[in-house]
């Protein structure tokens, strides 16, 4: 019925003590990716301070929260992704890659790589929502996907 999944200490730490779990009221942007069918859904909330930003990319991510339905790796990748982008600029957050998420977690089992992709896409989806709400164009940001398979196709 099940197989052993070996997680790194860092993954277990983020799973057992996830950072930034929760919701933000009136967020600057919200992104949700994944689907219940495959067993992973992530939702990321952003609170962006763009009061002194000259360009859209300069807005500062003042706060970030997440909620995740999924396996240990899905929780850990969401947690570390929020930790990485918190306090960063929009431009910096946009550069977050699934590879960076994996490295920050000390690696992921091969069958769990898609969780890191999901975390990257959830951040992008939240940024896209922010850009749409604001009516701005953030350079390098592509329209949000609902699931990672859409990107792969």
């Amino acid at each position: 019925m099940s197989q052993v999944i070996e997680y790194s200490e860092k993954v277990m730490d983020h799973f057992n003590h996830p950072r930034n779990v929760g919701e933000i009221e009136n967020p600057s942007g919200v992104g949700k990716v994944g689907n219940a069918k495959c067993g992973d859904i992530m939702r990321i909330y952003l609170d962006i301070d763009d009061s002194s930003a000259k360009k859209p990319e300069d807005g500062i991510i003042r706060d970030v929260k997440f909620k995740t339905f999924g396996c240990g790796a899905a929780v850990a990748t969401s947690s570390i992704a929020t930790e990485i982008i918190k306090g960063k600029t929009v431009g910096e957050a946009l550069k977050l890659t699934n590879k960076a998420v994996q490295e920050a977690l000390g690696g992921l089992p091969a069958v769990k790589i898609h969780c890191s992709l999901l975390a990257e896409e959830a951040v992008h989806a939240a940024l896209w929502d922010y850009a749409e709400k604001k009516g701005i164009i953030i350079e390098g940001l592509e329209p949000a996907v609902k699931d990672i398979e859409e990107r792969a196709e």
């Binding site: 019925m1 099940s2 067993g39 859904i41 339905f69 396996c71 240990g72 069958v111």
Partner: protein, 393 residues
């Protein structure tokens, strides 16, 4: 209470101390090859025969109908491939179900690639085969019906006697994968119309790496492992004397204690189920309410995912199992839970707890308390639960 709370007895069981004691001399003292001529090997030969007698008696079979194998998966492979091969001139159609163990399903897929046609029967919402559906699917070229005795995930017991009767009415052989049932339910192969039956030692407090295939004497089947005269030249390989002794000893123990184990497990299981479904909201109890293994409880907790649940239980030293996709190595959750009609997202949140005579009430209370906290914590992190609450529920 011991440090480890083991509630995954459908995965494997502890070797009973009585069984372990019975096995020991066949590692240390009587290590002779049961096929050798000298007197020193006589003891090994004698105990292999005795174990075979014990098993035969337990099943209402003859000793020469019991074949020792390397385990349940081998027995399933032998039954299916052996019958398919032996009867291929008679027909190429086999009937099984959608909820079988992969030892059956993957063997069937292999046979499909060899040109056999397989019908995978649906089951009802409790996981039971509908006998009339089985009968409708029998064709003139049907050579074998293989339906599990009891399901490993949800514990549902199939209407074996009826299935066997239908098979025999149509002159079709009936095999049952009884890996979860043997040693837990009393089985009489004649009364239940069974022609072939697979069982595995480690599922009922015996050792791993030993199983049996019961083959009715009238059944025509070739050898599965070639290379020696063991097991009436049908299953070559030096006899696994300690394993066989262990299988026999575990059978004897099961025969003596079956009703007592049953009563203990049912008491604990029913207590567990009633507390979980009343104290944890949005929980579904999967499987049949009464026609199920005495030690099996299977739940789906909505809005959460099974692997996370298992890791958190593991953090509390509780061993359990789930049918979520993340624990199966694929994107789809358990084929059994899908077959009983659960939507994917509910199947992902499943938890299987399988008890034994060694579990205590104190352990059950401990697991329920931990479960309540863990489910609540995972729900508080779940976007599905958030949506559900915001939708005004």
């Amino acid at each position: 209470m011991s440090d480890l709370v083991y509630m995954d007895n459908a995965a494997t069981t502890k070797v009973a101390p009585e069984v372990y004691e019975a096995i020991k001399p066949y590692f240390e003292e009587y290590y002779g090859n049961a096929s050798s001529v000298y007197r020193f090997a006589g003891e090994a030969r004698k105990v292999v025969d005795e174990a075979r007698e014990t098993v035969a008696e337990f099943l209402g079979a003859k000793a020469n109908e019991i074949y020792f194998t390397g385990g349940g998966s081998e027995s399933d492979n032998w039954a299916l491939k052996g019958i398919a091969h032996a009867l291929k001139n008679k027909g190429n159609h086999i009937i099984t179900t959608k909820i079988e163990h992969h030892a059956i399903l993957h063997t069937c897929e292999y046979l499909e690639r060899q040109g056999f046609e397989i019908t995978y029967l649906d089951v009802d919402e409790y996981g039971r085969v509908i006998p009339s559906e089985l009968e409708k699917n029998i064709r003139p070229d049907t050579i074998l019906i293989s339906i599990m005795f009891a399901n490993n995930e949800i514990g549902t017991i199939e209407p074996i006697k009826e299935i066997g009767a239908i098979a025999h009415k149509h002159g079709v052989l009936f095999h049952t994968d009884a890996v979860q049932a043997y040693g837990h339910i009393r089985i009489d192969v004649d009364e239940l119309n069974i022609d072939l039956l697979s069982a595995s030692g480690h599922k009922f407090n015996g050792p791993k790496g030993i199983g049996i295939l019961y083959i009715r004497n009238s059944v025509k089947i070739g050898p599965f492992i070639h290379g020696g005269a063991q097991e009436r030249s049908r299953r070559a390989g030096t006899h696994n004397t300690p394993g066989i002794v262990g299988f026999g000893a575990a059978t004897k123990l099961a025969n003596e204690r079956l009703e007592a184990r049953h009563a203990h497990e049912i008491e604990l299981r029913d207590y567990l189920v009633s507390r979980v479904i009343t104290e944890i909201p949005y929980t579904k109890y999967n499987g049949h309410p009464t026609e199920r293994l005495s030690n099996n409880a299977n739940f789906s907790f909505r809005f959460i995912e099974g692997e996370s649940l298992l890791i958190m239980l593991d953090g509390e030293n509780v061993c359990a199992s789930s049918g979520s996709a993340c624990t199966s190595g694929s994107l789809d959750p358990s084929h059994v839970l899908l077959a009983i009609g659960l939507p994917h997202e509910i199947a992902h949140g499943s938890l299987r707890l399988t008890l034994s005579e060694y579990n205590t009430r104190e352990e059950v209370d401990f697991v329920i308390d931990k479960l309540k906290t863990i489910v609540e914590r995972l729900r508080s992190m779940s976007p599905l639960y958030e949506d559900f609450v915001k939708a005004g529920n």
